[in-house]
């Protein structure tokens, strides 16, 4: 479904939810809960915090449906969720001690792409761990900008609107974050050079 069709469907459901139809809002929840959770967990690096933030985001969206006037419900929801995530992180004032505990468990593996060799799966696991460690090392703002740009595919202007900063700040966060990630991943990158 392209963006404009998605927006039209969302607006219809929002109107129905405003009229008091809870099922319409829950259709929106079903449509966006996977996206919102995966985006948020990448930003906060803690599944518990991500769940809390996503729940707060849906609660806040429901409470304030009357105030939604933008063109993209997805972007509106993303902004609320990012705000909720940052808010929770600020309140907790801590970094997760064990981000993605599933990865500490050797038994857990994300679904591997088809026809992948066992060696590639092992290397991918190593790469995941390195990326996860380095993503924790950059600031929450840099991480948010990188996730929204590299993973979710928003452009600079959309990220600026979501995070409430200027385009220049978004660019700076993305580039500085990537440079920091590159420096952090240097030990993993070096063997490939030789």
């Amino acid at each position: 479904m392209d963006r404009s069709a998605q927006n039209a469907r969302d607006q219809l459901l929002v109107d129905q939810a405003r009229a008091g139809r809870l099922e319409a809002f829950n259709e929106l929840v079903v449509a966006y809960q996977d996206y919102l959770y995966s985006m948020t967990v990448r930003v906060v690096r803690d599944p518990d915090v991500a769940e809390e933030a996503v729940q707060e985001a849906f609660f806040s969206a429901y409470r304030n449906l009357d105030r939604f006037s933008g063109s993209s419900f997805r972007a509106w929801l993303t902004r609320i969720s990012v705000n909720a995530a940052h808010d929770i992180l600020r309140k907790r004032k801590r970094r997760p001690a064990e981000p993605y505990p599933e990865w500490e468990n050797e038994a857990w593996q994300p679904p591997a792409p088809p026809r992948e060799e066992p060696e590639a799966v092992s290397m991918a696991s190593f790469e995941r761990a390195a990326i996860a460690r380095c993503m924790e090392g950059i600031t929450t703002e840099q991480r948010t900008a990188i996730v929204l740009y590299d993973v979710e595919g928003y452009d600079y202007a959309e990220i600026a609107a979501i995070t409430g900063v200027s385009n220049g700040t978004v660019k700076s966060r993305i580039h500085r974050g990537r440079l920091a990630l590159r420096e952090c991943l240097a030990p993993e990158l070096e063997p490939d050079r030789g």
Partner: protein
């Protein structure tokens, strides 16, 4: 990393230290840069193996971040009817929520500013230096002046000087230098401020001195004496009509104008302060009811 293989770099990196990695990152990301900035960076990417390696690494890091898997969602976020009922809130909460608007943060300082201006108006209106223009209209305010006029012998001299020399002075065209003080006094006397009224004793003295220095100064001194007579009322010799007109507008009229102006100032201040306060309260209610997570 599985997809990060590329040729080994030469050991020397001294030239590369001068290259800005942030600019390289911008060029790699395709950010629009002016040619004067972008062209040297493109040259680095062609000639400097470290910059080329940096560009390749950044592209790979970006791709690796995009491929990073996330743990699966563990719960369903759909709202139950109980959640919905709770989130809707009661009628008061809903009304308060409607009060909130996105710009309320900027609105509050503006409302506080309006209220402050109003308070300043009120304070200035009440604490005007003349102690209230309308205050000399009462007999109690005039009493000290009357006493001064009775006690100071110079006052009668001033009145006498008015009678004997006013007409002579009125024909003089050039003011004598010695009359500057008397002129200033006359200007003061045309006002209605309380301290100026009490200074009319000094005005009478100046008028006495003006007797010794014939000229326009006598006229000016007589003006102030005339004003004093007007203020004292029936106890003093009334001023000649033409001399009163020479002294400028009627002090009592100006007194009334200033008092009215003062009253308007205080009224405007009270209205501004009350309006600003009400808007501030509204902004506070708005901020309280506003959801902090909203854009």
């Amino acid at each position: 990393m599985s997809d990060m293989s590329r040729p080994a770099l030469p050991p020397s990196a001294s030239a590369h230290d001068q290259h800005d990695p942030l600019l390289v990152a911008q060029v790699v990301a395709g950010d629009p840069l002016d040619p004067a900035t972008a062209d040297p960076v493109r040259t680095w990417l062609r000639t400097c193996p470290h910059c080329a390696a940096l560009a390749a690494d950044l592209a790979r890091v970006s791709a690796a971040v995009a491929r990073e898997p996330v743990p699966p969602r563990r719960r369903d976020f759909r709202l139950s009817p109980e959640d919905a009922e709770r989130l809707r809130g009661n009628a008061v909460t809903r009304r308060l929520r409607r009060l909130s608007w996105p710009r309320s943060r900027a609105f509050a300082p503006a409302a506080a500013g309006v209220m402050s201006i109003g308070l300043v108006f009120v304070v200035v209106g009440y604490a005007w230096p003349d102690g209230g223009a309308g205050s000399i209209e009462t007999q109690s305010d005039l009493a000290p002046l009357t006493q001064t006029m009775e006690v100071a012998p110079a006052n009668s001299a001033a009145v006498d000087s008015f009678d004997s020399e006013a007409m002579d002075a009125s024909v003089m065209s050039e003011p004598a230098p010695a009359d500057r003080a008397a002129s200033g006094l006359a200007q003061k006397a045309s006002g209605v401020e309380a301290d100026e009224v009490t200074s009319d004793t000094a005005g009478a003295e100046e008028a006495s001195r003006a007797e010794q220095a014939p000229g326009a100064g006598a006229l000016e001194a007589n003006r102030s004496a005339g004003v004093a007579e007007q203020i004292v009322g029936s106890e003093a010799v009334p001023a000649e009509p033409e001399l009163t007109s020479l002294a400028g507008s009627s002090p009592m009229t100006e007194s009334g104008t200033e008092a009215e102006w003062q009253r308007w100032l205080v009224l405007a201040g009270v209205l501004l302060a009350a309006g600003g306060g009400a808007l501030l309260l509204l902004a506070w209610l708005s901020r309280r009811s506003r959801d902090p997570l909203l854009p």
